[in-house]
């Protein structure tokens, strides 16, 4: 039982990341009709916003300590971060410690800016082209972006820790009447789950309860008619692209302490997130979220030793098996609408 609860928690946590990326993918597909294979790269750039802010906060000046030597035997140059010099050692250390949460604020304008540049500079030229062309150009863009990141940050993962207060694990076992330490779950992963819920709720509320959101939803349903009403739907869709980029970026920022960011992390998530969108139903926002959590939980269960001993290798194919079953029984996905990506 404890193992099952742990895997449900794991699944919800994985599902959070899938759902956030898939939400952005669906948002772009639903509004602009573009299959954006560079969306995983936006997630990766978000994580590197956290890395960058952490590096900025750790910018240091050097002082020579003659009592110690470096690896070549020269006097050791000791680095002291500027923030510790400006704000005092304690406050400076606290600011550096909170680099990842601070990166949320840092990343939003950057991600929206990158979203605007991507949409205006490249993707808008492919609106009327085949989906295959869109996939090729956005996939190419993703490779360019990850190579740029690799050029500046290297190929190895870069550790980016959560604030000290979130280190350690929460003991669910004691709360549920199990032995201590039977069901423990890392605090930061719980924070990630809560954060995802807030972002997903925020996006839905924005689309549901604001005039802007209403126009966007109307545009998703019938772009032509909204245009005929004199509304500049293109401008709103561009803004939605920026918002979708920000959602992916925020998902990446908060993911940085879970697994050390590396330039390839976007690609690792992209394919799975695309499957999530298809299973959820192309263009369906609730479908993307539902499928994200569903596939996350199933993937976690498939990794259990008991399941793997019954069907070896199931952990690697479960998502695709489920996708095949769902698409065979519900060709438009779980919550897909009629007419989307259909002639």
């Amino acid at each position: 039982m404890d193992a099952i609860i742990l895997q449900i928690l794991n699944g919800l946590d994985k599902g959070s990341a899938y759902a956030l990326i898939a939400l952005g993918l669906t948002l772009i597909f639903g509004t602009l009709g573009v299959v954006n294979f560079a969306h995983g790269a936006l997630f990766m750039i978000g994580a590197f916003c956290a890395v960058t802010l952490s590096k900025i906060l750790n910018l240091s000046f050097e002082t020579v300590d003659p009592t110690q030597t470096d690896f070549l035997g020269n006097p050791l140059k000791v680095k002291t971060p500027y923030v510790m010099e400006w704000f005092g050692a304690e406050t400076g250390a606290a600011i550096i410690d909170w680099a990842v949460p601070l990166a949320i604020l840092f990343s939003i304008p950057i991600m929206i800016g990158i979203g605007f540049i991507m949409e205006r500079g490249l993707i808008k030229h492919f609106y009327k082209r085949e989906h295959a062309d869109q996939i090729l150009v956005t996939f190419g863009l993703a490779i360019v972006l990850q190579e740029v990141v690799k050029y500046f940050f290297g190929a190895n993962p870069i550790p980016t820790g959560a604030p000290d207060v979130f280190k350690g694990s929460f003991d669910f076992g004691v709360m549920l009447g199990f032995d201590p330490n039977a069901i423990i779950y890392p605090y930061w992963r719980l924070v990630y789950f809560a954060f995802s819920a807030i972002i997903i709720g925020g996006v839905f509320a924005f689309l549901q309860f604001t005039t802007f959101g209403m126009v966007v939803r109307a545009g998703m349903a019938d772009r032509e008619t909204v245009g005929l009403l004199g509304i500049n739907i293109d401008k709103r869709f561009t803004i939605m692209f920026g918002i979708a980029a920000a959602v992916a970026g925020l998902a990446g920022v908060m993911y940085a302490p879970i697994n050390s960011p590396n330039y390839h992390m976007g690609m690792d998530f992209l394919v799975l997130s695309f499957v999530v969108v298809v299973v959820g139903g192309m263009g369906s926002l609730p479908g993307a979220v539902l499928a994200g959590f569903l596939l996350g939980v199933l993937e976690s269960f498939a990794s259990m030793n008991e399941i793997k001993s019954l069907i070896p290798g199931i952990d690697q194919i479960i998502i695709y098996v489920v996708a095949i079953i769902i698409l065979l029984t519900r060709p438009r996905g779980l919550m897909g609408r009629k007419g989307v990506m259909e002639e």
Binding site: Q68, L72, N156, P186, I258, N262
Partner: protein
């Protein structure tokens, strides 16, 4: 008016012979004009450095390339000479290899076997490389070693730790300086026994490919010989990034030691996840839970950050060693590049010098002559103490380092500390050891 005696049969015959001649790869025809593949006839000799310049091991590859360039500089008489000054063999004079200036070409393996074979093939056929070296993955090394055997050139393996490289997949033209999974197990076992006792339950998470399998087998055998019980061996996909689903079952498995048979990004993520799940604070069976990472590298330790503190593993070499050779190499590399070399850089630098030295001693670049000079060669002064290139399997036998993630690093490079230097005699095994059985060295191929 002239008359030509052309018949249909004659045209077909001539065409077939001509086509066969054109189609025959230059790799096989080269031997007809020269004594062996890519025999250097001009004033230069070309070496092929085949490393991952893109992909997940690109940082290891970049460090290997730096070391290769340094080795070439030293061979050609440039720089401070590095470990050429400490090397026990004095055949190298700083005038290239046998008086020929050393040139090099580079290839990108992308850490993919097919890409690695393609770039090695190109370096042999188009660039005339007389020796191929490199690799940051056992899958790649084994694939390229096979190609070099067919092509008739020497392969000096870089960072490859699978038992199979000099076990069932060994080749007469291939040589490995780096240690292997068996040696990691043999070196770690006594240290683990002293630290954690003989009554332990180990849970293995293993990267699902040749290196992971052989390391898992080696470590499990070594720890079971101590009296440890292996609770479970779980294979994880090489492409996995989040290991939480694999870590969670460890919590209540009854295991009190987690062995991570992972390398590179896999290791960084699995260790980070294990620490996040509080495994290091856990008390199981009345004992402190422990994590072991059998193959460590400084570049990986950097990726895992403070999670490596206090965790034990093994390594081929570390820059903090205080022997004259290691100090000379660190000084040479550090002065040129501004940071200390990794174990990947060290092993490829050694391999380049060992190849060049073998050519000098053999008096030829002929792979069969070079192989003969390397087989059974005993040397010192390259940072690992007394070392033997065993003739039976072309594996180097030398001391192995047991290291621990440093609790209080003084710099960004000071991440590991050497806790024990395990003597070569303790990690040596018989050539027909079951973990290395199944293949044959064969005979050397000169092309």
């Amino acid at each position: 008016m002239s008359k030509t005696n052309m018949t249909r049969r004659g045209v077909l015959k001539t065409g077939a012979v001509a086509s066969a001649g054109v189609a025959l790869p230059t790799i096989f025809t080269a031997s007809s004009a020269a004594a062996y593949t890519n025999e250097p006839t001009g004033p230069n000799v070309t070496l092929g450095f085949n490393v991952p310049q893109t992909g997940p091991y690109a940082d290891e590859g970049a460090d290997e390339l730096r070391a290769y360039e340094l080795a070439v500089e030293h061979l050609n008489g440039g720089g401070d000479g590095g470990m050429m000054n400490t090397f026990s063999s004095k055949a190298l004079q700083g005038n290239g290899i046998m008086g020929k200036k050393v040139d090099f070409v580079t290839g990108d393996t992308q850490t993919k076997s097919d890409a690695a074979r393609a770039s090695a093939k190109s370096m042999i056929e188009k660039d005339g490389a007389v020796m191929i070296t490199g690799g940051s993955s056992s899958g790649v090394a084994i694939a390229v070693q096979g190609l070099c055997q067919e092509a008739g050139v020497i392969f000096m393996a870089g960072l490859t730790h699978s038992n199979d490289t000099t076990g069932k997949d060994k080749k007469a033209n291939g040589f490995r300086h780096f240690f292997n999974g068996y040696m990691s197990g043999a070196a770690l076992a006594p240290v683990l026994k002293n630290l954690y006792g003989t009554d332990r339950n180990a849970y293995h998470l293993t990267a699902d490919y040749t290196w992971g399998w052989t390391q898992e087998e080696s470590i499990a055998a070594a720890t079971e010989a101590l009296g440890w019980n292996t609770v479970n061996k779980v294979r994880t996909p090489l492409a996995a990034t989040d290991f939480s689903s694999y870590i969670a079952p460890v919590l209540n498995s009854g295991a009190d030691v987690l062995v991570l048979n992972h390398y590179g990004g896999n290791m960084v993520n699995s260790l980070t996840n294990a620490v996040q799940f509080g495994l290091r604070e856990k008390i199981v069976n009345g004992k402190q839970f422990e994590i072991v990472v059998p193959l460590y590298s400084r570049l990986m330790a950097k990726g895992a950050g403070e999670n490596v503190k206090g965790i034990h593993g093994s390594t081929n070499w570390h820059w903090s060693l205080q022997d004259d050779a290691s100090k000379a190499f660190v000084k040479s590399f550090g002065t040129k590049y501004g940071f200390p070399p990794s174990q990947a850089a060290h092993t490829v630098y050694c391999q380049t010098l060992l190849y060049a030295d073998a050519c000098e001693r053999a008096g030829t670049h002929n792979p069969c002559g070079v192989a003969e000079a390397l087989e059974g060669f005993e040397f010192d002064g390259l940072g690992n103490g007394k070392t033997l290139y065993r003739a039976e399997d072309h594996q180097c036998f030398k001391d192995v380092l047991v290291v621990r993630g440093k609790e209080n690093p003084t710099s960004e490079f000071d991440l590991l500390e050497v806790v024990e230097v395990t003597p070569a005699s303790q990690v040596t095994y018989a050539p027909d050891h079951p973990m290395f059985a199944g293949g044959a060295l064969g005979t050397c191929n000169a092309g």
